[in-house]
Amino acid sequence: MTELLEIRDKIKHFYSKYEVFILPIIKLLLAFLVLNVLNSKMGYMTKLDNMAIVLIVALMCSFLPNGSIILFGVLFSLLHMYALSLEAAAVGLCVYMVVLLLVFRLGASDTILVVITPLLCSMKIPYVIPVLAGLFCTPSSALPVGCGVLVYYLLRTTVASSSAINVMEDTEFSAKLRILIDGIIRDKALLVTIAAFAITIFVVYMIRRMSIDYAWSIAIVAGAMVDVVILLIGDLMYDINISLGGALLGSILAVLIAAVADFFARGLDYRRTEKVQFEDDEYYYYVKAVPKMTFVTPERTVKKINRSRYGRSEVRRVVADNPATDLEEQELDSELEELF
């Protein structure tokens, strides 16, 4: 455990020291991943499917605000949809308009989740999102997460319908629209996933704010379980073909990632919990203080002992946290006194 705490402290120290460089690098990596996944999954516009363009845009995103990643993600996906067909771009534009004009206008926080959610969905690890959002964000983060799920299903439907759209004539615009719109609306998995993620975020948030020991750990496990249960109920009700093994494995992975995140973000030591009560003129306070797990790096101190009264001086190295050295020192002192 002490080794883990030491590693955590080192990472924290490293991050605080080089935060100016680490944050742009994280943004660059995120933008690079998002654009690369878009190019690899869609890639209908061959001009965009170019590593140089992706790198330049990712570099731009690294020093621009977080919103730029969303903007370029939207732009790239719309251009790919446009290359596939104008109808696909129209459907995409409508969905993005709802997300950007209606949902984000209401002041949703943590908007970057709208990019991270489809990214993790395409990487087959979506279950980690609601648990982490519930832990580190507010319940309003259900809005960007829900929008992220919607965007993922839009892109997935577009990719799934691309072969059918490609063989259609240009004049069949209504048929193309029908394929895409029906593909999104009739996919009950979309609604079930949005509901499962929103409820999970809410459950995790509520539990982690409770004044109980191990609230965060309980919230992580309960959130993962609620997520799986809702998905299974949705599967039973609407037959959405959710893989039980995948959901379970994904939830276990979500629990592990969330536990690591909790350890790095907080790392509380509930064994040393203190409960105190006090009052002032207006209130009576019941305070529960949970100390953080800390690791104190052993410091070596050099103690100088000048023994001028004996006509000599010496410098001895004493390890502060080793009580044996004090005894050795006393023995040495007595020996010195006997000698002089």
Partner: protein, 140 residues
């Protein structure tokens, strides 16, 4: 001389001004009614644009059928229906915006109250320090 309490307070305030504070100050520049009205008006515009886009999608979803029925259907009743749905969508979104923007406004004012309290405290710390230095100078 460095005053630790003052430095901590200034750091907190600077961090607030840089992040959340900037947004809150913009909100607090308005009167409550003005802010909420502006937000509701913006929402009406956004909802109108989205409604128009979705209406276009609805028409093109079954364009052949729509064109065939165009001469059969009662256009006035159709337009009335479209308008009715538009009013419902816009009204629901505007009401939602009203509540959300009122909540944001109240929250921003509350948060700025704390900021101004800290500003006063900072001023008092400066005054205290100045008085102390004056009194030390006076003794000399």
């Amino acid at each position: 001389m460095l005053n630790e309490e003052r430095v901590i307070l200034m750091t907190h305030m600077a961090s607030y001004e840089k992040g959340e504070g900037r947004k809150n100050m913009k909100i607090a520049n308005y009167f409550r009614g003005d802010y909420v009205t502006v937000q509701v008006l913006k929402s009406i515009v956004c909802a109108t644009i989205c409604y128009a886009a979705f209406f276009a999608l609805y028409i093109f979803y079954d364009f052949e059928g729509f064109m065939q029925d165009l001469y059969k259907i009662d256009l006035f009743a159709f337009a009335k229906n479209v308008l009715r749905y538009y009013v419902i969508v816009v009204a629901v979104y505007a009401i939602l915006t009203y509540f959300v923007s009122t909540y944001h406004y109240v929250k921003a004012r509350k948060s700025l109250k704390v900021y101004y309290y800290n500003l006063k405290k900072l001023g008092a710390l400066y005054n205290e320090e100045r008085n102390e230095s004056l009194s030390v100078g006076g003794h000399k």
